[in-house]
């Protein structure tokens, strides 16, 4: 039975989403332990959307978008924020209804609000991925991305995964009726030590905004980019059979970590304003080449459903 009461804090909304999607059969996973720009980058989405094996996962993913830093001053822009991500393969026929159920679970009363599915074709040039779907609007606010993956890393998705991405801060601010993200209760305001989002993140938003925009050493970052790229290719170039164990071990995930790193470094360079429009395309192309190579490797693994 869904809790029909209004949630009181940011974390309660996360907890309700977790239990809702757990009750719908998703494996509740943990955030990926690397800097990523969005929940999609988690291998539980990017790689698991590939291949024939059924999959159902939900998780919170801390995400970093250096260019969105506003020193903690903007009511709803952050360079570090949380996404909630659901990926189900194959997409179930009632995915829209399941999704709407999740909104009710966090206290959005469908009888009072205006929910809309507005065309938004999703494309990740860096992941070589695209899908069709919508941004979901609640009273004019985008609360989620809803996508049917068609291709990832240049591979056709067969079967198709349904992906849901919730921007947690924005959604929670809306549900909790908060105007400035930093004022949002992080835990229950009745707790012995009530904490707001600002108590937890104001300091870091300031620090990272400054670092992202002005301090990050672009020469070092450029080098990191080259290193990650080289390492990714090197990992994938290793022979499939591990001479030590004698097993076939294709290191798609290890290589993909390097792809994630390159992508994040690129975002940092972008925030430092040192990447021109034309160079941008070239960098994105290089990250895409890595993502594609990792996807090529992953589909040959048994985790993707390839014959052993």
């Amino acid at each position: 039975m869904a809790d029909t009461s209004q949630p009181k804090s940011f974390q309660e909304i996360i907890l309700r989403l977790q239990s809702y999607w757990a009750s719908k059969g998703c494996a509740i996973m943990q955030p990926y332990d690397m800097e990523v720009g969005a929940g999609t980058f988690h291998p539980a989405t990017t790689l698991r959307a590939l291949g024939s094996k059924p999959w159902a996962a939900a998780y919170v993913q801390p995400s970093r978008r250096p260019t969105d830093g506003r020193y903690g001053e903007n009511p709803n822009r952050l360079q570090h924020y949380y996404q909630y991500q659901v990926l189900i393969k194959p997409s179930p026929p009632d995915l829209q209804e399941l999704y709407l159920g999740s909104l009710e679970a966090i206290g959005i009363d469908m009888a009072l609000h205006d929910i809309r599915f507005v065309e938004d074709d999703w494309e990740s040039p860096t992941l070589g991925a695209w899908g069709l779907g919508w941004e979901v609007w609640c009273d004019g606010m985008e609360v989620s991305q809803f996508t049917y993956f068609q291709q990832v890393g240049g591979h056709d998705c067969k079967p198709v995964s349904g992906e849901l991405t919730y921007g947690l801060e924005r959604l929670a601010m809306y549900v909790l009726g908060v105007d400035h993200v930093m004022d949002m209760p992080f835990n229950d305001p009745q707790s012995p030590i009530p904490l707001t989002y600002g108590d937890v993140f104001r300091q870091t938003e300031e620090e990272y905004s400054r670092w992202n925009f002005d301090i990050a050493d672009t020469d070092v970052l450029l080098r990191h980019f080259e290193d990650s790229e080289a390492e990714c290719h090197r990992i994938l170039a290793a022979p499939e059979v591990d001479p030590k164990t004698g097993k076939r071990i294709v290191m798609a995930h290890a290589a993909y970590d390097q792809c994630i790193k390159a992508s994040h470094v690129f975002n940092l360079l972008d925030a430092r304003g040192v990447i021109s429009v034309t160079e941008r395309q070239a960098y994105i192309g290089r990250v895409r080449a890595l993502a594609k190579a990792c996807a090529d490797a992953f589909v040959t693994t048994s985790a993707a459903g390839a014959a052993a």
């Binding site: 506003r70 001053e73 903007n74 009511p75 709803n76 822009r77 194959p90 997409s91 179930p92 026929p93 829209q96 469908m110 009888a111 009072l112 609000h113 205006d114 929910i115 809309r116 599915f117 507005v118 065309e119 074709d121 899908g131 069709l132 779907g133 919508w134 609640c138 009273d139 004019g140 606010m141 049917y148 068609q150 067969k158 079967p159 198709v160 349904g162 809306y174 105007d179 304003g273 040192v274 021109s276 429009v277 034309t278 160079e279």
Partner: protein
């Protein structure tokens, strides 16, 4: 006769695709039904966010039986041939008929294809329509392989006749047809049985779905303008937005809200762009043109009459606008305190194109070129240079990073904030113009100078690095730039010989790498080769000019001027002065539509042809002045007189660029030329007379060719 009702119910169809999809459904179905032998009285298609609907009235119940007669082998042909014939027709020997034919007795078969029930045909045609639907983008879902714009859930397909409806049975990848529709997603999420179109539309309305997109749009516009009017305000019209919003709702409910006081200082373009792009809000303005309210369209009614929805929308707007305000205030600081200098520095780090350098380098080139052009268009060179230097500064601003479509618009605000005079600031906005064939062309001299410099730098630059448009590929919008140059020159009546400007524009660009002759395929005349003009700037300028001429032809063709008329004008000196060129082409075009013009043309062609043939045969050029004393006939003498008179008028008219006068002078030659050809045999046996007459023909030809190259005109 039965009526057909089809509804394809899916997850939300993108608004921009709905109208087209409804039309496609109608076309595919009616074409398919007719091809299968059915007829119908009327058909209408509808679309909502979740459904495509087609109602066909007065469909025939079945297709007619078709009889086809086929001729087979002769009766005395080998058995094998007969067997083959029987196999191909599916008949037995006793079904055949032997008849006499020209070549003897021949077997004839009559094949009868029985008519099919409408049900069967509808099912086939609909399945094929679904499987081959021309969505701009379609997708798969789940584990299936069917493609649709978004997952397809239900197919309603019924034939109704005499108040009774029956389901047209079909199954497309597991979706079975029914006689049920579905109401509004939230206000009536139930399945509803229907037995005909009227019933369907009425039940949908009760289930909070307005089927017709026009009706939804009308409701929205009516309610929005009423709400605004009641407060003495006016909704900013936006047809594209209205159509889009009508495609986002099945049950439109208009809500008007206030824009927070703190945001009213933002430029109206910013408010409008932000509200439209992000929120799909209409802007509502007061009598002074200030945008003070927004209109949003919800998809449902609520118990609290939209209070919660409106509050939510306002909050979202505030968040969006505080972003915009943040950009605006930061940008203004850079403009006011630092005169935009940091932006210009920043543009040094932004690559315009890998082979054409940074934006800052590009701006340097444009500024230098604007200086050169300024005097010709009546602008002050120093001011033109200043304006060019700041015109693109806003590309580094935060607002333009967020809303690229506001480039130039913001530049004007920021340039004013930086203390530049209005006419210099306006260049930031106007130098991008004209953006399309129907966009306004700037007229202020400063704006014209920089707009031309900008476009010419782009053209010569991409020419220098060999990135000319090919076929349908024009990634750098060079055709648009060329049309911009053409319209800037013509609509401002500029007398601007382009050759030196194009050369000046090409000079700072990288030296092209030559690949033999293929880069500059235009053949060089001996004169050009002998002149020292063989540098790359000259070659680029020449090639860009040829491109401009090509685009000019397209431009003038749309204005009803034939390509050969343009060619005839292009071949004349001063063709790089587009205003002069068009003046000549227009006069010639008008002249050729007159009877005099038409006849003169044939007279000219006759003279020219005879002359050319004679010159070819004799191997000499007959350009030596003819002697009137050698004239034998009155007609010949009259022609001399007429030529004297015409030439006397043509020369000053040409000097005054009065092409109409020059051509009317030519028109005076028409009768004497006609009479001359009527009475005189050019190829006389007397060689002296013949030579004199050929020289006379040359005079006719030369008089005409002084005005335009009539050899290029077709017909005559």
């Amino acid at each position: 006769m039965p009526d057909l009702l089809i509804e394809l119910f899916s997850e939300e169809i993108p608004a921009r695709m709905q109208a087209r999809a409804a039309a496609d459904l109608k076309r595919l179905m009616t074409d398919g039904l007719v091809e299968a032998g059915l007829t119908y009285a009327a058909a209408e298609a509808f679309a909502t966010p979740r459904r495509l609907t087609l109602a066909v009235e007065g469909l025939t119940g079945e297709s007619p039986t078709r009889r086809e007669e086929r001729k087979g082998p002769r009766t005395d042909a080998p058995e094998k041939a007969l067997e083959g014939f029987l196999r191909s027709t599916g008949l037995k020997r006793e079904d055949l008929e032997a008849r006499d034919d020209k070549k003897g007795q021949v077997w004839f078969a009559t094949i009868e294809t029985p008519g099919r029930k409408a049900d069967e045909i509808v099912a086939d045609v609909l399945e094929s329509a679904i499987r081959n639907f021309p969505w701009p983008k379609s997708m798969r879902w789940g584990a299936g392989s069917l493609r649709w714009v978004r997952p397809l859930h239900h197919i309603l397909c019924i034939l109704s006749e005499n108040g009774e409806a029956r389901i047209v049975e079909m199954d497309v990848d597991g979706i079975r047809s029914t006689d049920m529709t579905t109401g509004h997603r939230f206000m009536h999420p139930m399945r509803v049985q229907v037995h005909g179109f009227e019933d369907y539309a009425a039940k949908l309305k009760r289930a909070h779905v307005i089927l017709s997109a026009e009706e939804r749009a009308e409701t929205i516009w009516h309610d929005a303008t009423q709400a605004a009017f009641a407060q003495g305000l006016e909704v900013v019209e936006d047809k594209g937005l209205l159509a889009e919003v009508a495609g986002l709702v099945e049950w439109p409910v208009v809500l008007m809200g206030e824009i927070g006081e703190t945001f009213l200082d933002l430029p109206p373009e910013v408010l409008q762009t932000s509200m439209k792009e992000h929120q799909k809000f209409f802007s509502v303005r007061d009598k002074t043109g200030r945008i003070v309210r927004f209109v949003t369209v919800a998809n449902r009614e609520t118990e609290d009459n939209g209070t919660t929805i409106l509050a939510g929308n306002k909050k979202v707007l505030s968040a969006r606008l505080s972003d915009a305000k943040f950009f605006w205030e930061n940008d203004l600081r850079v403009a006011k305190d630092a005169a935009m200098a940091p932006w210009l520095t920043q543009l040094g780090n932004v690559t315009f194109h890998a082979k054409l350098g940074s934006q800052a380098e590009r701006i340097d080139r444009i500024a230098a070129l604007a200086r050169e052009i300024a005097p010709v268009v009546g602008a002050d060179p120093d001011q033109a240079e200043t304006a060019a230097r700041i015109a693109k500064a806003d590309l580094s601003s935060e607002m333009v990073y967020e809303f690229p479509e506001l480039q130039g618009v913001m530049g004007e605000y920021y340039a004013k904030a930086a203390g530049h005079p209005d006419e210099v600031a306006a260049v930031a906005r106007e130098h991008y113009q004209p953006l399309g064939p129907s966009d306004d062309v700037p007229t202020a001299p400063l704006s014209v100078a920089v707009a031309l410099a900008d476009k010419i730098d782009t053209l010569t630059g991409f020419w220098a690095i060999d990135e000319k448009p090919t076929g349908s590929k024009d990634p750098y919008a060079l055709r648009r730039a060329a049309l911009g140059v053409i319209r800037l020159v013509l609509e401002n009546h500029l007398r601007l010989p382009l050759t030196p400007v194009l050369e000046a524009g090409a000079t700072p660009h990288p030296e092209p790498e030559y690949h033999g002759d293929e880069r500059f395929p235009e053949r060089l005349s001996m004169e050009e080769v002998l002149s020292q003009k063989t540098g790359s700037a000259w070659a680029i300028g020449r090639s860009v000019l040829a491109f401009l001429h090509d685009r000019l032809k397209v431009f003038l063709r749309d204005r009803g001027i034939r390509h050969d008329v343009i060619d005839a004008s292009l071949a004349m000196p001063g063709a790089d002065d587009l205003t002069l060129l068009v003046k000549r082409a227009e006069a010639l075009s008008a002249f050729l539509t007159t009877e005099d013009g038409e006849n003169l043309l044939s007279g000219f062609k006759r003279a020219h042809n005879i002359l050319r043939q004679a010159e070819e045969k004799d191997g000499v050029e007959y350009s030596f002045g003819p002697d009137p004393k050698l004239a034998e006939t009155n007609e010949e003498r009259a022609l001399f007189t007429a030529l004297d008179a015409a030439e006397e008028r043509i020369a000053p008219a040409m000097d005054a660029e009065d092409f109409a006068a020059a051509m009317s002078a030519l028109a005076g030659l028409r009768a004497p030329i006609d009479a001359f050809f009527e009475a005189v045999q050019v190829n006389s046996d007397n060689q002296m007379i013949r030579r004199n007459r050929l020289n006379l023909l040359h005079r006719i030809s030369a008089a005409c060719l002084a005005v335009a190259d009539l050899t290029r005109i077709e017909g005559g």
